[in-house]
Symmetry: C2
Subunit: 183 residues, 2 copies
């Protein structure tokens, strides 16, 4: 479980050019929060360390007084590329929803169902948000002209695809549990 925040920072800076810590956080929240999240408490120390290690540096041009804009260095690019070619690390699964559900016999059916319903609604909301971004992308020539376009499109589709599958499961599962009980 190595520090992945640093690679996220390097990647974002290499894709979008000089940015401040605050901007990086905003970008995460706004554009990639469905698959990546950062918080200030971790981000700022990582930025300091990346600068100390010479992987990023202050961008003196276009100084916005109170912002600390960083740009990636050639050394930073190298480190990023090395990481990109490494296989994706195995991440042990931990789903609180499924854990609770597997203890279903220890709670009331109604409680289980309302837990599922709450989770389903959250997913449905996310699904709608991602879908609307998706259709925006498909109809926007400027977005399409960017080199990142195909990659952003497929990540988006991953999110949409997963949510779609989960919504289907929620429906089937709630139906199944209700009918199983009433036998």
């Amino acid at each position: 479980m190595k520090n992945k925040t640093m690679y996220a920072v390097l990647g974002v800076l290499s894709l979008l050019g000089p940015m401040s810590g605050y901007d990086i956080k905003k970008f995460c929240d706004k554009s990639i929060s469905y698959f990546w999240n950062e918080n200030f408490g971790h981000l700022y120390p990582v930025l300091a360390r990346l600068e100390a290690d010479g992987l990023i540096e202050r961008d003196t041009e276009a100084e916005d007084s109170r912002k600390k804009n960083y740009k990636i260095t050639p050394k930073g690019v190298e480190v990023l590329k090395d990481w990109l070619t490494l296989p994706v690390e195995y991440q042990p699964e931990r789903s609180e929803l499924l854990l609770k559900l597997s203890f279903g016999t220890k709670m009331e059916l109604e409680a289980t169902l309302s837990m599922l319903e709450a989770a389903r609604e959250r997913n449905e909301l996310k699904y709608k948000q991602l879908s609307s971004i998706h259709s925006y992308y498909l109809g926007n020539e400027e977005a399409k002209s960017k080199p990142q376009y195909p990659y952003w499109l497929v990540t988006l589709r991953y999110g949409i695809n997963s949510l779609e599958a989960s919504l289907k499961w929620f429906g089937e599962t709630m139906e199944f549990l209700r009918s199983y009980e009433s036998k």
Copy 2:
């Protein structure tokens, strides 16, 4: 991000009866690793604390010499049930695969594709494993007679359903990226 290991322990003990730390770990690895994982370094201290707090206690009956068997106490059951009715906590997403993929322009297409292929193969293997457990369940009368049966079935289906969706996405995505490049 409260300590969820303790609830996992309480739940497992309440479902399966007295067990040792070693057995709990084995159960996680064998039966629920597709949605929950534990490791000894965390598990043993948590067991000690749960005992100190009176949520579990040593089971003196059927002592297996070198095993420390724990059973859940009434207080432990209460704590478990309180937690079960709480809504599932929001878990910020962090997918290394999608992060890397979103930086796709910074690497060779071939490297991206082989990263995807490796991930796809892992998922396919898991998919086959879960599917075989699923069909075993459906044909096993003893499993069906247990009160947990409907809950274990639906968690299993969650795993299968997600993997199925991801496999579909992997196929489409690799195809899309290849054809996008060659234009």
